[in-house]
Subunit: 311 residues, 2 copies
Amino acid sequence: MRAFRVVTCILLAFYFGANAQNKTVAERLGYSADTKLLILHADDLGVAHSENAASITALEKGPLNSASIMVPCSWFPEIASYARNNKAMDFGLHMTLTSEWKNYKWGPVSSKDSVPTLLNKNGYFYALVDSLQNYADPKEVEVELRNQVKKAYRFGIDVTHLDAHMGAAASTPGFTAAYLKVGKEFGLPVLLDGRVYTMNHDSINSLLDEKTVVVDRILSMEPHTYKQGAKQTYTDILENLEPGLTFLLLHPAFDNPEMRAITIEHPDYGSEWRQADYDFLMSDACTEIIKKQNIKMITWREIRDKITREK
Amino acid sequence: MRAFRVVTCILLAFYFGANAQNKTVAERLGYSADTKLLILHADDLGVAHSENAASITALEKGPLNSASIMVPCSWFPEIASYARNNKAMDFGLHMTLTSEWKNYKWGPVSSKDSVPTLLNKNGYFYALVDSLQNYADPKEVEVELRNQVKKAYRFGIDVTHLDAHMGAAASTPGFTAAYLKVGKEFGLPVLLDGRVYTMNHDSINSLLDEKTVVVDRILSMEPHTYKQGAKQTYTDILENLEPGLTFLLLHPAFDNPEMRAITIEHPDYGSEWRQADYDFLMSDACTEIIKKQNIKMITWREIRDKITREK
């Protein structure tokens, strides 16, 4: 049975990876296969005013061209209001199943009674993806993801895509199936890379089809690259970008008392890190490298409308 | 029936207002009736990091001697951690049934399904006390207040009292009965003034007894007094303090990007207002007036332990 599944997966990967008449994602979008396509993306909007304010500035005045929003957080209404009033911007939802900071917490959009396996004894999401993997029922993950999307629509956001906070919603086959299913229900592309074809799970395979868009690579600054500095890290990434569709994610925010208190005792992805992300996005260097490297910026809206919702 | 109730209330007021052998609250606490007793109190802890940070400083380095915490807010874990580690401080709970700011919201501690009449269509508390009065079932108010107290205990807070955010929990007879009942369950004094004796509601009357503590007056800066400046307002209040137990409430916070964004479009009780509260608390003038006017500072812990929990 297991061997059969593996073979099935390989065939699926071969079929859909080379689907739509053997075209790459770039070609399916109307670009040549050797085009360096980039979505320059901010995660974690809604988590804090600092994050909202910095991301909005980087979207309006920098090359940042896409972002995703955490619906369960207290600052969601602020960014939802901005998105509602700036419909041309590319806003997706950062599907949230964890609450990772020490002194600042959130819980589900769903009624707590309907998603008990997603919550700790205090009614908050777990801090760690590992806890979620240990305790969460994928059916409840599906309920919560759907409720986050429905709430975003109720707030008037023209949602362009879904992605996964801390990767949690794509961290097990069961969660990934829920994530894909909810995306499909709302006609939204979901951020995934080629690993989805190797997950070997019937409920995932049944959701993959010719409209599935899988990015060629997901890149970000990591704790070990942060040590060499944000500017060096992102310069290396952008100067060595390979052809195909790259999703580069950052976390721009202002290093201020709010952000320092949220990220207390956690320098990785912390307040200074986020300021460094913002500073790089707003630097002339960032814009110049993108131009010099002949990188073509695209949005999730383009993917959604050209592929996911194509009739 | 109504006339009977009014008579009952007047009798109750007479009996309990002059209860414990006709002693005033001051006398019941062991002070002379002409003592000017003051609880100098900060509301709204937990609403924001700015509010937590300013209130902690005013408690540690200023004359502020009591504060209350909003359990449903995202910053609750930060102040709960502080309270757990500073057991001598006087922390009560700011029973929260409204979410009043435009772009920053919170909902119940309870599962949403169990308190539907307290919530708007987005799962948040109503912005206005008026909406709560129109829609909320007092039974659900009781459920939510109880869950807020239970959560605070789970976080290790030595709760000294309950009070009511925006007065919501004491804004109708039905809510007030729930508020009194929950206070009684946990052996906690609840902030109320003499108006409780005139509410004319059987379920309230049955909860009033010889351990009920009613403050002689609740004072705060109001929008019309704010116009003359915080320093002038509080100086007038403190220089004209009458004998008996006064509860003076402030909202210290730092006027920074977080607080300005929370209180956007709402100068009353806004970011500058809260900074002015902080500045007055931290001024030499505040400490000097309290000393010069021979004001005796007391805490809710003293009231709780000498009266509410007295055997």
